[in-house]
Symmetry: C2
């Protein structure tokens, strides 16, 4: 029996009423002064953010780039962070990987077997090969980029029709193993993507710093109050709400406020 993110997400939603994914884009250059002197500033920052936001979080999403940026210490911060997050809260590593089979297997070993995250984001451009190591691991889950929230998503997702081509491709995999990253900038696009991919979890970035409108996102993408199948991600708007010694408390309040606005 599978215990993938699909189930863990549903359980977390039912027990807490939260659909909020807290993005741990913990940019070392943006941390509050009060953690900079710590032996591992990113880890210290994350630990306190998690303590203050966990009650409002349906999931956490650290982005690999922000950890690699601090070298060995950053990778150690990532390991400690994933280990620290309470077991009932799913962890999604945002790494957008996509490679040939034997290389994807290495990423799967690194992220699922060693780091022990619940899910990764993946880039589907290289085709079905990128999913094999996910499918071969019981309970492993991925979110494939189906439409992103950045301006130049226009280039290939919209003008190139990759949003629909990738959606058809995603549709060939079980919903308890593969979700979709669907950017939040245009409600008409979100509606279209939801029609193409019913019953599948959408990881929706682009709220807050990237400018997506929450109400239209909820109307366009959420399925039902029993199974909304959405995760609304916010990163900078939560974790960097304040850069004072009270940063963690402020982040916890920001998470709580945003969570209360996510009504399905």
């Amino acid at each position: 029996m599978s215990t993938s993110l699909f189930n863990k997400y549903q359980a977390r939603w039912k027990s807490t009423g939260s659909l909020l994914c807290v993005g741990l884009d913990s940019d070392i250059t943006q941390l509050p002064d009060c953690v900079r002197a710590e032996a591992n500033p990113i880890w210290e920052f994350n630990r306190r953010i998690i303590d203050s936001s966990a009650a409002s979080a349906c999931a956490y999403k650290p982005n690999l780039a922000f950890y690699l940026n601090d070298g060995l210490r950053g990778l150690e911060a990532l390991q400690k962070t994933v280990e620290y997050i309470p077991a009932e809260i799913p962890v999604i590593l945002d790494c957008k990987v996509g490679d040939i089979g034997n290389t994807m297997e290495q990423y799967a070993v690194a992220f699922f077997d060693h780091l022990k995250v619940d899910a990764i984001t993946l880039n589907p451009l290289m085709g079905t090969d990128v999913m094999q190591p996910i499918l071969q691991r019981e309970g492993a889950f991925a979110f494939a980029l189906a439409l992103t929230s950045n301006l130049s998503a226009q280039d290939f997702f919209l003008d190139g029709g990759m949003d629909e081509k990738v959606s058809q491709w995603i549709d060939g995999f079980p919903p308890d193993r593969l979700g979709a990253v669907v950017g939040a900038t245009q409600s008409k696009d979100l509606k279209r993507m939801r029609r193409l991919l019913p019953g599948r979890i959408f990881l929706i970035p682009g709220i807050g710093a990237q400018g997506g409108d929450l109400d239209s996102v909820l109307r366009s993408a959420a399925e039902s109050s029993d199974q909304p199948n959405i995760l609304i991600n916010s990163s900078r708007g939560i974790i960097f709400r304040e850069k004072t010694p009270q940063f963690a408390q402020a982040a916890g309040e920001a998470a709580k406020e945003l969570n209360q606005l996510i009504v399905v």
Copy 2:
């Protein structure tokens, strides 16, 4: 004046006659027994491979997945490896990253500013945003995935027309900042891609373990003997030629033999 991989590659080709890129896919589970007891097995393996193959190498290409797979020790092996490779030999980090602007900037800091590689591979699916941190760094260079050598490249590159769409996109950036990864499985596809992208360096994987035919690759992709604009990558066929205590010598011979077959 730019000193990007474009120039370093031309200089290396002119001084050594090599167009061979040695792929350092140094899978921790595949290393010869004689290095397994070392404090950092991947680093010890790479050091000896580099010593024996540098004379035949136009470039080295470590793939990030194989280093993350060994955790902090793996990332340290990657750092030491990049530092150890002689300055005149370009280093390409194969990471296939592609993300929104502020995240790509983090990767650029990690890979260009800290790790100090000459180039990275990138996934163009999210559009022009992925190139901004490259363009903003003097001398930074990337290879965008234009057509890969895996079987499921069919899904989006060939059936979805992404090979031509990405080629048009690549064509909008200067050749001294952006090359193309072009898989080596079909000579007709290589010819077509070369017509679309003249004067640009092709990083060509898929020789050896992935089954590309060298002669047809050379006829299809090399431009002129003065400026061939190709880099032929081989990984497992060189570094894992032998798993004996003489592994490094065997790798050096494999690199020399393959290099002698790359005649333009």
